[in-house]
Symmetry: C2
Subunit: 344 residues, 2 copies
């Protein structure tokens, strides 16, 4: 299992990225990690690389400030571009990057290409839930202005992903909406509801935002704009709570003790605030395995990203998606096939 | 100042609604409260009504389970319908209801009508922020599938509301988006961005969901579907945190003490979870003052709703909106003028 890690992508690159990759390589000797990045910087501080880790040189770096599409087109020697090219050419089985998310999405579409019949790839992280099972949310921002057909494909892809990784035979698929009744919501969700209800999926109907964290469904389908707002909104609230907590904690020793105890309750909350646990989000619909780790990546987030990549390879999830999309009918008739679509 | 209160609307009606209305009447003798509802039930447990409180009989009740539009059309003697008719006929200055939100929105459009030139009324609660100022969010679910012109009107109305109530000369207007750059987001927000940037408003650009609670803007503009998901998502997360807190609190006395102390930090959080503080949301764009209190209303939420109604009357906010909409150009050319639009 060969996984290319974009060693230069992310706020703490390359140091923290390399640290996470080395930890992953150490814990699983079947992994072969290829660190892609500037040779002079990737190995810094590392005496000798383990046998299952190698370095492929890439002279340039795509920065977070770079315009995604332009960066992919102009920086042909960037670590991210080189890693995606290796995936395209079959030299690796998957790519993990914590770099510029927009660039990674644009690069994946342009350089690796989409699964035939899929015209809107989707970003699908796992949100933590109260019951600890987690919910796969598709899409949280890869595509803007999707149509009902796209959301139906998200459900097909999310279903196969959840099924493989969590071992659930018929994952409960829910549609994010402002109410539970079928007639609720905007035109997009009303049309999508009909498609999902008529499908072979275990569609449990609409799910309200306040019930997502209670674990009401296993796969949550939403428009990328809405999914992104929900995720970032929760992130913001979690951060505010941590901030308030900190204020309480630092006032006096008694309070500090109290808050320390209460703090244990915030493990799940913290996972929202720092996004480490949801660090490995696959880009579903790309004709190759591309995993986005969080931009402000810690070694743990990188390890998580590599773990998700490994699951995709092991369970052959992309092949399953390719077959299922073929069976359910391609969407090639849609007009918006421009690969530059995901430049946001 | 005459305010009709729908005494039968809300989970705890009429008891808690009447309690809140009486408290409001007691604290402000300039208020004249008209309790609308079943005579035999509204006065239950109340020995004598204060001078500034009266009862208007209405035989029927619109339940939360009722289909909004059908309920408004068929239950002509429902407390909500009678209150809205009184507003239409100028017998009262405002209506406050904690009843079926969908019915209230449909009823407001159908019975009271819209401000000329406005075709999508918007629900505009105040979210709590870290700095304690609060942010007015428009819209959080009154209208589905709005256009850029509608969002521009939300900004005009929200701006006037904030200005009057908070005394800020030029409130900071922000557009909810998935990134700060002008080119981010879906077609709706990209077009809206251009309109707001070209307007006379103090438009500060896009605001990400995670920055809303930090108080980055005073008026937050969003599509009602997205706004509702954000609000409910935060509500859900806040409830999850409370649930976790409770688990910690009940374990042993030491933890209990600790959690009790930490608990103080959760005042703001709690206001999200039970929505009492955001209990009074005006329906902007209706040709009369209609305030929606939260469905699971406590006496405090009802008082808040009456307070907001009072501010609308006192500051003449609706007249200001009417004038400003006239100045900026009506949207009567739009095709979706069906008053049944808000039946969701």
């Amino acid at each position: 299992m060969r996984i290319a890690v974009d060693a230069m992508g992310g706020d703490n690159a390359p140091r923290e990225i390399v640290k996470g990759a080395l930890a992953a390589a150490q814990s699983d000797k079947n992994l072969e990690i290829i660190l892609v990045g500037r040779e002079d910087r990737v190995g810094q501080g590392v005496s000798t690389l383990p046998d299952n880790v190698s370095v492929v040189h890439a002279a340039e770096v795509i920065e977070n400030e770079d315009k995604p599409l332009m960066a992919i087109r102009r920086k042909r020697n960037a670590s991210m571009v080189v890693a995606l090219q290796m995936l395209k050419e079959g030299q690796v089985d998957a790519v993990v990057s914590a770099g510029n998310t927009g660039a990674l999405m644009a690069g994946a579409s342009l350089l690796v290409g989409r699964i035939p019949g899929v015209n809107k790839p989707a970003l699908a992280p796992v949100f933590p839930t109260e019951d600890g099972r987690g919910v796969v949310a598709v899409d949280i921002g890869a595509a803007m202005d999707p149509r009902p057909e796209n959301l139906y494909q998200y459900a097909i892809m999310g279903n196969l992903y959840y099924k493989a990784v969590f071992g659930t035979e018929r994952p409960r698929v829910g549609l994010l909406n402002i109410g539970v009744e079928p007639e609720k919501g905007n035109e997009l969700v009303k049309e999508t509801y009909k498609k999902l209800a008529a499908s072979e999926l275990n569609f449990i109907g609409n799910v309200e935002a306040r019930d997502v964290l209670q674990g009401q469904c296993d796969v949550l389908i939403c428009d990328g704009f809405v999914g992104n707002i929900l995720l970032k909104g929760c992130e913001g609230l979690a951060k505010s709570v941590m901030y308030w907590m900190k204020g309480v904690m630092t006032k006096n020793p008694v309070r500090m003790t109290g808050a320390m105890l209460a703090r244990n309750a915030f493990k799940d909350l913290k996972s929202f605030a720092d996004a480490e646990d949801i660090g490995g989000a696959p880009l579903l619909g790309i004709n190759g395995i591309v995993i986005i780790a969080h931009g402000s990546s810690s070694p743990r987030a990188v390890r998580n990203g590599i773990k998700v990549a490994g699951e995709f390879v092991k369970f052959g999830i992309n092949d399953k998606i390719i077959n299922r999309v073929k069976e359910t009918g391609a969407l090639a008739s849609q007009t918006d096939l421009d690969p530059a679509e995901n430049k946001n």
